[in-house]
Symmetry: C2
């Protein structure tokens, strides 16, 4: 299942991307527009800012805004920040590789074999989809 964090994060990103300009949009406005709990959204936008997707401005007239072109934002990056590793098991992860403790030989593991295919299929989708592609 996709976490609500990722779901809300994606909605917020596309909302910001679809704005006519890049002037700050308040959390409250995004939350209202996209039916998201404001406090929860707050923490999500914070991590998106900390990971280089958004900029922010405090005080009156402040808010969040995109700091890259939507066409340059790949879903691989978004998903890794919001949802975590794209691989479903650490032993096939590109960025978060870990050997399975219970698995003597990776090459002979059926789970490894299947999840490798799944990872590649998902990577293909995420790499070839940018934020711009998600705007209607």
């Amino acid at each position: 299942m996709l976490s609500k964090k990722t779901k809300y994060g994606l909605k917020a990103l596309t909302f910001l991307a679809s704005q006519t300009d890049r002037s700050p949009v308040q959390i409250a406005e995004i939350a209202k527009e996209k039916n998201i709990s404001q406090k929860f959204l707050e923490s999500i936008l914070l991590t998106l800012r900390r990971n280089g997707f958004l900029g922010s401005k405090k005080g009156k007239g402040g808010g969040y805004y995109l700091i890259k072109e939507p066409a340059t934002i790949q879903m691989t990056a978004v998903m890794r920040v919001l949802e975590g590793p794209i691989a479903m098991v650490p032993c096939v992860s590109l960025n978060f590789y870990e050997k399975c403790a219970d698995c003597p030989e990776e090459g002979e593991c059926s789970v490894n074999k299947l999840m490798l295919k799944v990872r590649d299929a998902n990577l293909e989708v995420y790499r070839n989809t940018t934020l711009e592609d998600l705007i209607t």
Copy 2:
């Protein structure tokens, strides 16, 4: 993340599929061979039996055995039983469709758009992979 339930279930299935014949294999043997908690595996094998993948025999000389040819068991079926819906959100699920409560129009939802692609990519993999393909 892939649940341990699915991971263990897949390992058990491939272990049973790789046996020379289809005579019953005890839970204890599978658990030992694949480094799985026996009691946990017990409940997993039970759901696999209830969903038509395995047969079982009680008493001395009993155990679990495959009741279909490995080549006829698609990963779509296995994943749905062990891991649940293949889609990451209900609004793009083929078998478990549900409308999003918070989403006014599916056609304009960025999450829907992305997850539809992801679902298709995963279905492609799961449909074209059978239990036989996972045996080394």
